[in-house]
Amino acid sequence: MNKKGVAGFPYFVGIESLAQVATTDDTICVLNILGTESRQVTPVSHAYSGGNIVFGTSPGHKGEVLVTKAGSIPVFDSVREGLDAGHHFNTGVVYLPPSGVRDGVAELIRVNPELAKVVILTEKVSIHDAREIRAFAQSNGIDVFGGNCLGVADSWNQVRIGGALGGDHPEESLIKGSVAIYSNSGNFTTTIAQYLATGGWGTTTLISSGKDVYIHFAADEFANALANDDRSRAAVMYIEPGGYYEQNLNLTKPVVACVVGRWKSKLTRAVGHAGAMGGAGDNAESKERWLMEAFGVDAIFTPENPVASAKGAVVINIAHIPLALNKVAKLNGFAPDFAPTGNLALKPWLGNNQGLDLPPEVDLPIARAIAPYDLQIARLRQQIGAVIPRQSMRDSSGATRMDPATQITSVHGHSVLDLARLPFEVNMALALVHETIPEKDRALLHIAVAAQANLVGDPALAAADAAREAGTAPNLVMAAAACMVGPTRVERTLKAAERLIDLFGASGLRDPYDDSFDLGQIPVDDETRALFVGTDPESAAHARAMLAAVDASGSRSVFLAFVESLDGQVDQDGVQAALATTLAWGPLMRKRISRLTAATLPWYLRLYGVSIGSTFSAPRHRQGSLADIPEAELLERTTLAELAFLALTGKKPTDREARSLEMLMGLLVSNGPGAISAQGAKGAVSADGPQTPERVQINKAMVGFLTHTGFAHGGNGFEGMAFLLDRFAAVDVGDPTDPDHGLDLRAMAMAYAKDYKKQKALAKEVGASGPPALPGVHHPVFKGKAVNYDPREQFVASTMAERGEYNIFHDYFRELVQALFDVGASRYVFCINVDGMIAALLLALLWPDYQAGRITEHELETAAFTVFLLGRMMGAAAEIDDHLNRGRNMDTRTPASECKFVT
């Protein structure tokens, strides 16, 4: 050993007093100063400590600097270069990776004769290197802190060396006082300082010792330095199992020792702290015993059993440290450094029960966080709605998901089988607000959509009719209408919705139907008023009709009340915005949806209405009525399913027919993001650039969905119907929902199955590929068993059975799959697939009109396609909204490397 250390130690110890651990005279060199961790924490340390770092090293980065608030720190390739440049330092801080730590310490020791201290932050330094570091440092008279520590700090001197005690705001935790901290845990060094502050205790010197097998500046050294530090009246030591560092400690000042880790005796290897593995003699219980003996106490200190002596107390819960320290201090006749700054009781800063009724011990009220976090949380709370990170959404969806095993798709977590049982209005909302809406909301959604369906005088109707007359399929008729619902047409109502979110977002309103809400607190200026009121008498008349319908439904919300309270004539845009905001409010406040979704909701609602409206030919749109239904009746007493049925058949449905149509549309909502229709919608959003959401044309995205349907996708529902029409052409079905039809379906099915088998055999003889696949039966997933079922078909069948409903075409399909097997045309009993089920349901709905000659086969086909479009429109809206919120610009494109050239 070259230097003489503190007397009384069998090895070298240079630091005699805690006052010498981190001083304003210390000058520092940081090894690997530009490394990931150092780059983040060194600038804070440097600024907090008044600029105590003279230079750093980072091989290959000579000439660079690390910028800090206290000036830039020069960087050299090596320590020698820094010294050659005229710098001096007495403390080395090591941020090197584990394999470089030993060499870094050797470099510091060998080239800098002024070196007195080294702080090693690196974790996972091998024991091999640690034992050599110990030996270098000992033979050269250097004090070492760490490895795997978070450095040392001094609250009096406002100096921290190495690591990051106190985090990015050291002044928050390193409060000047009279208690020294020695901790095996870096994190708990700061946490304990924070806990002490709540009890009115500040700190002197804080040492994060690390908890590797080798602790160089350990409990013995700390005890000695504590004794010699006039500033420190007491100390807190946080101790973990493993090692004999705390045995026979010579503590001359009162100490609260926290020993944690009894449980660790169950571990067979270290977790986190490599040295925190106790054997039989150095486990937590042993350490508790050593310290209790040192303090002359016979039990662990707890609030219930506060055992302490003037020498100290042992706790096993860090939360009990302030209390134990108070007791020990009292026994010594000294008081805390300052008034307590708080308490450690449970105080949730954020929370959400999600509407669950929790028991009181779990249901804690949200507390105000300590400053400055309270202000940050307040700002966070001002942020309305969910924040959704963007990512590539190619072939991905956050809205829909198809289970490949069952082929059942869910939309925002709701299976389409469930959707098949829900009203059209509920599913429309679900696609966008992610929840099934309550009865009150359902009435409002109905009004918001139905009010947009009458297109008299609207260019959308002219466009739709022109497309219809040109012979295009119903998807393009709807698309033509949707093209007319561009951004300008919805600009004002979207602005109005935005304004409502701004105005009410800060008000604390949670329930949009809260009768007790005081509208007087909502400031209204002329600009705001102008978004909701206007001078157009026609628009005002529509608005009145809508509000009357709202009153009739008993669903007046705060937003509608607000709009009505404004001076002037409320117009349709204003009411539409209030309706949409009401629907969005709950999910928005619960952060189920984003602000963007809520603010664009009026656009979707309008597109829903226009799409339904466009299925009625032009003459059926008249001033004050649609399809001869007066506006009031339309808004108050006609469901959207009834309206859709009317569009398809020209007549109002019975309850059973309306339910059947809703079931069909529910089943058709989505087939997951891989469906062509979904891809069309997503591609349209992607092409507009969702990262600039205000530029995305939602009507164009809806057109993207529509143009990605066609005779093969959506229109093919007719194939099943056509097949059934052929089979039933020669018989008198009568009412297809009457089980007493008198037909021998088994015989019909057997006859066809035999014929089909013959066609197959013939085709085989001539080498052809065989007769076309049978529509409505068989499925590539649900096959191979003796008898096969498509779960979706089973679901519909069971629902019908529950409702006591019968469908002759469905029954025929059942006979057919059995007959095909019985005659040997199939190797097993095919399933009836969901398309077969849909064809059967739809044909039953349209059968009376078709039989009576009121609709043609072509119209039957159009109707089948339209049902698909109305159902899938909701799934498309969900995909559009999802992609708008999550996607990146042009994220649906296929990289050139994945594209193929085909000759």
């Binding site: 961790e37 996972k124 978070l150 080798y214 090692g243 449980w263 290897r269 986190g272 669950l356």
Partner: protein, 426 residues
């Protein structure tokens, strides 16, 4: 990473030229066993356990055979024998056949790093062959030495002198024991123990130390151990699939230390910081599924990967996802919370939602941003949660998590599942 027994121990000792008993592995033929018996007079049959399993002799798990028949009978008895030490049960995977060494003296020798001396330290006695703790301390030498100069002959000589070792064993031990430092220091060991070393007469009557049992522990943070080329499967029994997956992400930048506490636990607690780990696992006890330390400012990608593995193994069974740590010094809370939240979202997308209550307790840089990001995700997923700052005692937060767990166990889980519209669990 422990290794016991002569099957591999003999090979390791040969690296430094330390004499060992003759050893045959489980695959030895009857002819080879017979030859060994003929050469040595008798043999010991010992079960092979992966990892560190001690106290075999006391448990009657060491067989002695004087002929092939006895050897085969012992082989049959011990080949798949089960051995329980404390809570840990190990099953043998074969046996070794070790030639017996006639000896007058048995020596115990070990090297480890002592926290008393803060230096590598030898423990040595000439009264070996028994548990070292049972010996009178006057016969046991504990001598630290300088790792820079290594274990030198004089250290051994002085130690043997101190404990009054017989003269005839001093010279051979002084000659051979220092070699073990090379094995210990250069191959990443933290413990090396030979007990017994049997002092057997050599051809010229001089005693030769022969290692007859071997135990060592490697430092998992020291790549020097890989120089020995030991098969990784030797240590694989120590790790579950989950731990193995996590260990693949083990780097010094951000810890990813994990240990399975109770594979049937119901609180999944990613814990940050060694201190928090000690506290949390102590309070949670068997409610906890895993014990972890993910502190050390893990980068986003690593944290997300670690969380993803945790969720894929244990989220479904968890009632409470408990993300807990003290007031971080340098761990970026926003990055780590965003990573865990994204992994949670990803898990729900891949595996569907599961009813879990989320409890968070933390402090540190970018705290509120991190809490906000996490809260947004839980809101979007419809999960109930409570988030505590560092002004709530960490131990109280742990107790709260347990209260939530109790509520979940007493019907809360079903209530939450119904609220989330999930199918009832089987």
């Amino acid at each position: 990473m422990q290794l016991t027994g002569m099957l591999y121990g003999a090979d390791l000792l040969k690296h430094v030229g330390f004499p060992t008993s003759d050893v045959l592995g489980p695959e030895a033929t009857e002819e080879e066993i017979q030859a060994l018996i003929e050469r040595c007079g008798s043999i010991f049959v010992k079960p092979v356990f992966k990892g560190g399993v001690g106290k075999k002799g006391k448990a009657g798990l060491i067989g002695r055979a004087h002929n092939l028949k006895e050897a085969l009978a012992e082989k049959q008895r011990l080949y798949f024998v089960e051995h329980r030490v404390g809570n840990i049960t190990a099953q043998a995977q074969g046996v070794t056949f070790e030639g017996s060494i006639p000896a007058e003296f048995e020596v115990y020798f070990s090297i480890s790093d002592s926290t008393v001396f803060r230096a590598p330290t030898i423990t040595l006695t000439h009264m070996g062959g028994v548990a070292i703790e049972e010996l009178d301390k006057k016969y046991v030498a504990n001598i630290p030495f300088d790792p820079l100069t290594g274990l030198k002959a004089f250290v051994i000589a002085n130690a043997l002198e101190d404990i009054g070792a017989p003269q005839e064993i001093i010279s051979p031990l002084v000659q051979h024991l220092p070699k073990l430092w090379e094995l210990y220091h250069h191959y990443g060991m933290t413990v090396l123990e030979l007990n017994p070393i049997r002092m057997t007469p050599g051809p010229a009557g001089r005693l030769l130390p022969v290692a007859c049992d071997f135990k060592c522990q490697f430092d998992r943070d020291d790549p020097r151990a890989t120089r020995l080329g030991l098969p990784a499967s030797l240590f694989s029994a120590e790790y579950s699939d989950f731990e193995t997956e996590i260990n693949q992400l083990r780097t010094y930048q951000g810890q990813s230390d994990v240990f399975i506490i109770n594979p049937k636990g119901t609180i999944l607690a990613p814990t940050f910081g060694g201190g928090a780990n000690s506290l949390v696992t102590q309070v949670l006890g068997d409610d906890a599924i895993i014990s972890t330390d993910f502190g050390g400012n893990p980068p986003y990608a690593k944290m997300r990967a670690v969380a993803h593995i945790c969720f894929s193994h244990y989220l479904e069974q968890a009632n409470v996802l408990f993300v807990i740590g003290g007031k971080a010094n340098n761990t970026d809370i926003y990055e780590t919370f965003r990573a865990i939240a994204d992994a949670l979202r990803e898990h729900f997308v891949e595996h569907g939602p599961t009813p879990v209550f989320v409890v968070i307790g933390r402090g540190g840089p970018k705290l509120v941003r991190g809490m906000g990001a996490f809260a947004d995700t839980m809101d979007a997923l419809g999960l109930p949660y409570a988030v505590f700052g560092f002004d709530s005692a960490i131990s109280e937060v742990v107790n709260y998590a347990q209260r939530v767990n109790t509520w979940m166990q007493q019907g809360g889980r079903e209530e939450l599942a119904a609220h989330m519209r999930l199918e009832p669990e089987a």
